[in-house]
């Protein structure tokens, strides 16, 4: 918490400091997060990668107030996160279970707003805007299970956008869709960041994806997890699935992140 006095952290939209979490107790106690620390500036696109078993989901749940950490804290706009904050929206990997099947697409998108007491006309406009932003304006009356996987994840993203958050936190959001859809959704979130100025924090196990999307890549070690490095990605704001990925800079960044992850994993094994 002493680090939260530094000027960089002070101005950050999201700051995670000294986060630690372990499961179980006694002999079966397993430390997942040791000391995780990073910040996200407003408008940032931050991706988090790490070897499998690095506790990425645990980190995300601690950060979003769904799980209480053993130590450390997360601050959003300067306020400590103790429960899910109103300025943060989550998109889960498992869209089919995250969307409620008994509600239509528009019902799902407006549900958090309705619960928050937003008036009906405003709910409607916000849902229309959000659905238009993800290209689903014509599917509002359908049920989520009548849509393809990629479209369902678009609905989940629309729900997050309509919520009006300052930061959108996504847990391996494209891990369950096919490669083509995945590329489309990656470009969709980049486009949303450009047009709406929302801050993105995306957890992934895919190094290509992490580099392609990010302004900065947070590389995690294996459990017990710390931040191994924060790699700045200076590929510019405009990205292209073919061109960007062919650039030497992209290739070298990708190798750099890959080496960091491998080294971190080997390092942990050696201990």
């Amino acid at each position: 918490m002493t680090s939260s006095t530094s000027p960089v952290v002070e101005s950050a939209l999201l700051s995670v400091s000294g986060l630690a979490k372990s499961y179980g107790d006694g002999a079966s106690r397993r430390q997942v997060l040791a000391d995780v620390e990073f910040t996200a500036q407003a408008g940032d696109f931050l991706t988090i990668v790490g070897p499998s078993g690095a506790g990425k989901t645990t980190l995300l749940r601690c950060m979003s107030g769904l799980l209480a950490p053993d130590a450390g804290e997360t601050r959003l706009s300067g306020a400590p996160v103790a429960e899910p904050p109103a300025d943060m929206a989550l998109v889960f990997q498992d869209y089919s279970r995250s969307l409620l099947p008994w509600m239509s697409v528009v019902g799902n998108v407006t549900f958090p707003l309705r619960s928050r007491g937003v008036a009906k006309p405003e709910r409607r406009t916000r849902a229309e805007e959000a659905l238009a932003a993800v290209g689903l304006e014509s599917s509002a009356r359908l049920y989520p299970w009548q849509l393809s996987g990629g479209m369902q994840q678009r609905v989940a993203i629309a729900r997050a956008l309509a919520y009006g958050p300052r930061i959108l936190v996504m847990d391996e959001p494209f891990a369950s869709v096919d490669a083509q859809t995945r590329a489309e959704l990656e470009d969709l979130v980049l486009d949303l960041r450009d047009r709406l100025g929302v801050t993105f924090l995306l957890v992934t196990h895919d190094i290509d994806e992490a580099v392609y999307l990010a302004d900065r890549v947070v590389v995690l070690s294996g459990a017990p997890t710390t931040v191994t490095a924060v790699v700045p990605v200076d590929l510019g704001r405009k990205r292209d699935q073919v061109e960007t990925k062919a650039r030497p800079q992209f290739v070298s960044l990708r190798s750099q992140v890959y080496r960091l992850i491998r080294a971190a994993a080997e390092d942990k094994e050696a201990k």
Binding site: W102, W145, G149
Partner: protein, 276 residues
């Protein structure tokens, strides 16, 4: 266990309704089969010796007599009243208690022994108590029905609440959904499939207990009509009343299957087309 039965029943219903042209042929075959059985039955009564067992034609005549002189109305109304009220009260108790026991693991542990004990008591063992408390009227039947029907509804509700998808629950938490909205839009719909099965089972049981109570107590209704017909030597009428009870059972089951299918259109077991 009960939930699995319900799912299977829904699956069968869906397959039969899938192809309209095929369905008509299936119905024709079914009707033909029933007609064949009736013919064999008629022949067996005419040419064999089945005691007091009536031929289908006799049964039909007795049934038309019941309907014709309006005798059918009173008992059917009595039975249906206790059936519906009993089911309603059972749901009014079973659903809220089930919700609480489903949400709170400690409450469930606390009540589990009592629950298992109470639901193994055969409700007919309570007939003397019911008569003592309420005489031979509606109250007695209600007591017996509610005591039997509350369990399937309550337990199915508990199972349903426990089956809430953790991802859906986490989503609701992350979007700060109010407790009342969680109950109404997350917990209740999640439990709806189980709940519908519980109510459908209870609906059948309610009719069963209604009739049993009417025969044993005896209390006004179809059950009593069956007994009186038998005691009065009106054997075809007795069979006619039994048939009335059977038809009622079939109609009730049909009604609840229909309602369930409409109300749970979104449920994976009910989805027709469009799902990918």
């Amino acid at each position: 266990m009960t939930a699995a039965t319900g799912t299977r029943a829904r699956g069968v219903a869906r397959r039969a309704g899938g192809v309209p042209g095929g369905a008509r042929r299936v119905w024709a075959v079914k009707a033909g089969f029933v007609a064949l059985l009736a013919a064999v039955w008629e022949a067996a009564v005419r040419f064999g010796d089945l005691g007091t067992f009536p031929a289908p034609t006799e049964l039909c005549r007795a049934l038309t007599d019941l309907v014709g002189d309006g005798e059918i109305g009173g008992p059917v109304l009595d039975t249906l009243t206790s059936w519906a009220l009993g089911l309603l009260v059972s749901a009014a108790i079973g659903v809220p208690v089930g919700l609480v026991l489903g949400v709170s693991a400690s409450a469930y542990r606390l009540c589990r022994f009592l629950l298992d004990f109470l639901r193994t008591i055969p409700s007919l063992a309570l007939v003397p108590l019911a008569v003592l408390l309420y005489g031979s009227g509606l109250g007695s039947k209600m007591l017996l029905i509610v005591f039997t029907c509350v369990w399937p509804i309550l337990l199915q509700t508990v199972y349903g609440v426990r089956d809430i998808d953790p991802v859906a629950a986490e989503t609701c938490r992350s979007y700060r959904i109010r407790p009342s909205h969680r109950a109404l839009f997350l917990i209740l719909p999640s439990a709806a499939g189980y709940l519908a099965t519980g109510v459908r089972i209870a609906a059948g049981v309610s009719l069963l207990i209604s009739l049993s109570a009417e025969i044993i107590i005896p209390s006004p209704g179809i059950g009593q009509a069956i007994t009186s017909a038998q005691l009065g030597g009106a054997i075809p009428a007795m069979y006619a009343w039994i048939a009335v009870a059977g038809v009622l059972g079939v109609l009730i089951n049909l009604l609840f299957t229909r309602v369930e299918r409409r109300a749970l259109r979104w449920h994976p077991s009910q989805r027709q087309g469009g799902g990918r």
